[in-house]
Amino acid sequence: MPEIVEIPVLWLQGASCSGCIVSLLNSFSPKASSLVLRELTPGKHVSLRFIATVMAGQGQQVVDILHDDTAAAGGYVLVVEGSLPLGGDLFATLGESDGREVPIAETVGRLARKAMCVVAMGTCSAFGGIPAGEGNLTQAGSLEKLLQRDGIDVPLVNIPGCPPHPDWLVGSLVAVMRYGLDAVAATLDELKRPKMFFGKQIHETCPRRADFDAGRFAKNFGEPGCLYELGCKGPVTYADCPTRMWNSGTNWCIGAGSPCHGCVEPGFPDRLAPLYCKIDEQRLNRFRLLEPTVSETQK
């Protein structure tokens, strides 16, 4: 049997809802069982060393994995789901060390230093998300914020989305495994998102764009027409949802008659709120951070 290289993956959850890992389980092609069992690219297999939602072990026996130097030897990918509470050590902990509950942010920082690359899975990890929203008491922040605070220099890929589409992570991993980190780094945008998934505005590729251009707008839920008046954030959101579709290509938000909420964008939810209110001139200022993108500036 030809030798198969194992790519260890450590998946840690901070202030998360587990929606990102559940979304990954929705992977259609390759299917979830293949992600676990089979080679993801020829000769390379993702070894899910630590993944709390599905791993068999528990307690100290799995905490030990996070201290296992053999994972570090050949390099590993650290995936972080959820934001990281930076305002107190007890807001999110994982395992104990000498009777002390260990903050997840500390473990993430320690593991990030030795990682081949780190992936911020989901909007919380990429940009802070809801736990970092206005009114929070925990000073939750993104993975990048933690890396900057602790001066950790490691390649970072942001895969935002609440949750992210499974293809966005799987496709990114495949790109790294097939073409290498440098090649992938060259395809990231200024927010460290792979352009192949986040390069186009929802509004550009939306099947209801013709309704917008013709001035046909839905005024209430369940009505046909463009959802702009119902608060659609497609014009300020960059993702390939309209063409990729969700849940094995079954549907997507606008396909279900619901406005896009811009869940992949930095500043979600604060900058995108109110979710069901039309973007107006005044509020457009709040979206400045989201611009410009390549596709915008080339126009």
Partner: protein, 522 residues
């Protein structure tokens, strides 16, 4: 001592600490004080605090239905449902939801139940009972099982190792069949999400449920697609899921006697029908007597919770002021109590409440299952009873969803227009797959001034209260005999039978709604 649990010594005995408890939703630790081979005391700890309700304050009321889904990625649809009911109440449209809107909401929540229950038994709980290594010398022709064997041959066994060892009891062929079920479940639970997204747009975090109804039009092609997926899922429930429960029960029959818990059960009822709920509301006292639920009897205790003492109150009046270093506190969960006592919520509670109320469908399913398992109804409060109740609930959901699908009327309205009042308050009571779920809102100046959730795992995973009463999971652990301290299967099997969801429970309770005298339970 690689792979074993740290044992510290407590004045009452050895402490087994399991941190993290995996294969659940969220961050949980459990500590069990073991003396003479028996659990004497148990501490159930939520180890994450996000402060969701504080974040909701000041936002547009409609945003709550989207943001509260993000409390939990496993049961977002249940939060969407409870939040929509809550907003329906506050916006004055609770009695105006169109027929299609009500039915589609039920179909969305039903899809979430199926996904969550199937995920729970196979992907989360089954590895406590099933030995994957049975595939090491698999010689059959099934392609996926051959892939499992090739995987084992490579000796890189994550995420199936490390694990507890020493108590896998099934015969080899039975293990092979259950592993096949595990792999099939990964496929079928994805189909549940595909089904949900037909009307819900996407999953996790569907976008279809809104106050006033749902967003998606009802069309014949959607009904056809939904029906096809529901049929596939129904076949899995009948052919794989329910039989798997009986298979596991056959090998681990003693788990009908392990993990009873507080034997007091609560449900608000789930799935709105015309004037009633498919799964009826109710309370069952520890002596087996049924009672009507009155949400005004719910209080929250913070004696062992990392919140300042002033946070102890009725949910509608409660506060959330974190105090991480509070003396004697060991969890981010508060302790909800009904009439001062703990109550178990979830599929077992709903089954026992329906059974006791003489609900025809539930009684029929439970009686025939008990008879097939060869045990009496007194064995229901147990590890196996919970798994059984969950599987039967899937069968009931598939049956009801098939009917709801037939009742849909293409082209008819799915939602009513909404107006945001200057001031209002509302309550939404429903059930997540893992138990009773309530949302409360208060609106002032057209924005959220208070929002509050009381969620299933806050009930089940609650800590000891000021009266010294442990929560349901803690009670289920106490008295349990531990055969092997280094591999305490009993503890994790008991905990997982409750299907804990820590993201939901830690921590959502907070900055309360208002005191509402009489709570209407549909």
């Amino acid at each position: 001592m690689h792979g074993s649990h740290p044992h510290t010594h407590d004045e009452n005995g050895d402490v087994i600490s399991i941190d993290p408890v995996t294969r659940i939703e969220g961050h949980m630790k459990v500590e069990a004080v073991v003396d003479g081979g028996e659990v004497k005391e148990a501490r159930c700890c939520g180890t994450l605090f996000r402060g969701f309700e504080n974040i909701l304050i000041g936002r547009h009321p409609l945003d709550a239905v989207r943001l509260t889904q993000r409390v939990c990625g496993v049961c977002p649809t249940a939060h969407g449902t409870a939040s929509a009911l809550c907003l329906d109440d506050a916006l004055g449209v609770a009695d105006k939801i169109p027929h299609n809107g009500r039915l589609v909401r039920n179909l969305l929540l039903g899809s979430n139940y199926l996904q969550s229950h199937i995920l729970h038994f196979f992907a989360l709980a089954a590895l406590d009972f099933v030995d994957v290594t049975a595939l090491a010398d698999y010689a059959g022709s099934d392609s996926e099982l051959k892939a499992v064997r090739a995987f084992i041959d490579r000796q890189e066994l994550s995420p199936f190792f490390p694990r507890y060892e020493g108590d896998y009891r099934c015969e080899k062929q039975t293990n092979v069949a259950l592993v096949k079920g595990y792999l099939a479940a990964l496929h079928v639970r994805r189909v549940c999400h595909e089904m949900l997204s037909i009307f819900g747009g996407k999953m996790p975090h569907n976008i279809g449920i809104v106050p006033g109804g749902v967003t998606g039009e009802v069309t014949a092609d959607k009904i056809a697609s939904f029906a096809g997926k529901l049929e596939e899922i129904g076949e899995f429930v009948e052919d794989v899921y329910i039989p798997a429960i009986f298979t596991v029960a056959g090998a681990y029959g003693d788990y009908f006697d392990i993990g009873a818990g507080c034997k007091r059960f609560l449900s608000y009822g789930v799935f709105d029908m015309d004037g009633e709920r498919l799964l009826p509301p109710g309370l069952i006292e520890a002596d087996g007597k049924p009672a009507k639920v009155d949400a005004a009897r719910i209080t929250e205790d913070v004696a062992s919770s990392r919140y300042s003492d002033e946070c102890a109150a009725r949910p509608a009046e409660g506060k959330t002021i974190p105090q991480p270093d509070k003396q004697g506190a060991y969890t981010w969960l508060k302790a909800p109590r009904y009439d001062g006592g703990p109550a178990e919520v979830g599929p077992l509670a709903r089954a026992i409440i329906g059974f006791t109320a003489g609900n025809k469908v539930i009684k029929g399913e439970v009686e025939s299952a008990l008879s097939a398992a060869g045990v009496g109804a007194e064995k229901l409060p147990s590890v196996l009873g919970r798994h059984l109740a969950r599987a039967l609930e899937c069968r009931i959901a598939v049956g009801a969803m098939t009917k709801w699908l037939d009742e849909l009327q293409p082209g008819e309205p799915v939602a009513v227009p909404l107006e945001i009042p200057d001031q209002a308050a509302g309550m939404g009571l429903s059930g997540a797959p893992r138990g009773a779920l309530g949302h409360w809102i208060e609106i002032k100046d057209k924005v959220i001034s208070r929002y509050q959730l009381v969620v299933p795992t806050t009930w089940n995973g609650s800590p000891k209260d000021s009266a010294g009463l442990p929560g349901p999971i803690e009670q289920a652990l106490i008295g349990t005999k531990i055969r092997d301290r280094d591999n305490p299967f009993e503890i994790v099997r008991i905990i997982r039978s409750f299907d804990p969801c820590l993201a939901c429970s830690v921590h959502v309770l907070t900055a309360a709604g208002r005191a509402k005298g009489v709570y209407r339970i549909v």
